[in-house]
Subunit: 334 residues, 2 copies
Amino acid sequence: MKLIVDAMGGDHAPEEIVIGAALGKENCPGLQILFTGKESEIREILDANRISSQGIEIEPSETQVEMEDDPLCILKSKKDSSMARGFQLLRDGAGDAFLSAGSTGALLVGASSRIYKNKIPGVKRCAIGSVLPFQKPCLLLDSGANIEVTSEELCQFALMGKAYAEDILGVKNARIGLVNNGAEETKGTPLYVETHQALKAMAGIRFVGNVEAREIPFGACDVLVCDGFSGNLILKLAEGMGKFFSATLKEMLLSDLKSKLGALFLKKKVLAFRENFSYEKYGGAPLLGTRKPVIKAHGSSKRSAIASAVVQAERFSRADLGEKIESWIGKEQE
Amino acid sequence: MKLIVDAMGGDHAPEEIVIGAALGKENCPGLQILFTGKESEIREILDANRISSQGIEIEPSETQVEMEDDPLCILKSKKDSSMARGFQLLRDGAGDAFLSAGSTGALLVGASSRIYKNKIPGVKRCAIGSVLPFQKPCLLLDSGANIEVTSEELCQFALMGKAYAEDILGVKNARIGLVNNGAEETKGTPLYVETHQALKAMAGIRFVGNVEAREIPFGACDVLVCDGFSGNLILKLAEGMGKFFSATLKEMLLSDLKSKLGALFLKKKVLAFRENFSYEKYGGAPLLGTRKPVIKAHGSSKRSAIASAVVQAERFSRADLGEKIESWIGKEQE
């Protein structure tokens, strides 16, 4: 299996990306890495860190998509960027999956574009899935890509989310929930009222109804469906609150001598607490709706997050979700 | 000053409401309470708890709005309920402010209705403001009442929120933020793009731009404007995550002997941590856009939360926000 890695995307590119990918590779026997990006820089990092080049190739590319670029640039003005090269290699069969920590918008355009031929026929829009690290992992989609959606698209997200939760996260008969401001069927905007009925009518899924936001941390469902505006709010607020609580806890533990003494007894537990609530352990966010896996790593990813994302990409690629999603969506449209 | 209290609304009515209101009254010299509800039950609670009836009156009402009732019932079939009576007394000058822990929907209908003549002329819709207990208090509005809104309504929410934040929460020159999925002006749905421009163009406010959800806990603004669907997500997720972290922390501190030892040193701090992140200290949620204050206490409120809400209602009533909001909104419409 060969994973294409955009070496130039993300806040800590290329160094943390290259080292992280090499670390991830060590945990996946037989995995090969194909970097896209500035060849000389990548080689320098490999050499400086004494990383063997066995199983590692480089496809040279001198430009890259910047955060302020129009996402459409990867189809036009930046067709030779490290990200666009990744999609071309994927399309041409030079790799089995693609990982990037670069611009989410551009990655979504690339994943959905006819030019790169990776979107599954019948899928209206690709969605970004993010695993919320609560009591039980919960796959949130769309988590920020599609700000305005239709009921049909939300129903497709439910199917794509089910496939990922079951085959990659190991959930059995995934429970699908719809984000909403109340449990009753009549709650929410007209879009949400319509979607509730549509999900209820779908034969192939286990729909558990509307999920209020306060229930999300307590394992109310395995797949949480919503529009990208709401999904972004949920994902980012959960992230912000995690940081807020960690900071408050730290302050509390170091505030005076008595607390510091107490903290000594709790050191391991506190570390476990923080680690447990970390987005890193689930690697990157899958772009669902593609034939071959495309994974978005967080822009701020350092080596360990990239290594997790590589391991996840390898598992994702083995599972061959594309075919399953294509057949499910085909059945719905019959 | 006389506060009307719906004794029959909320999960723990009437007992916790009556005792809580009496507790709150003790902290507000000169405050009188006018309960609406079942007279015999209220008298029994006062007697059983040896609460002096000085400064306490009761307006008898034999029915009440139930959670499953259509909110419009308080204008029609339940015109003689404890909540409807409260609005009538407010309209007729028998009280200065109204507090209820009953149905939010019905309370909003009552506050907005022409029958009870409490909505400020020019205000399109009343909004529910909720104080998020983060690093700095942040007033979120609308926090769940108005699922679909217009840009003009969101701009009015900004003005109403500014008045409350400055006069009740004691913030100087309140910073107004707009919930969004990115900092750039072009982010969000068309409604949010339009609202960003409208807020930017408003002369009387200090607009700090879009606020991403991850910044909310860190004091990004004093007033956070959004539609009620998003507001509900933010409020409820913050509440759920608070509970989740508290539960996780407790589990951690009691997991083994070593941790229990550490916890002994930290007991006070942990209690302070939990208290600091409590919605109770800010009392109820104001319904903004009314002439005389209407305050919604959480349905699950027990006596201490009701007591806080009474103190807040007293301060709210003194501030005479209605007049200020009316003049600000009038100016915007000129």
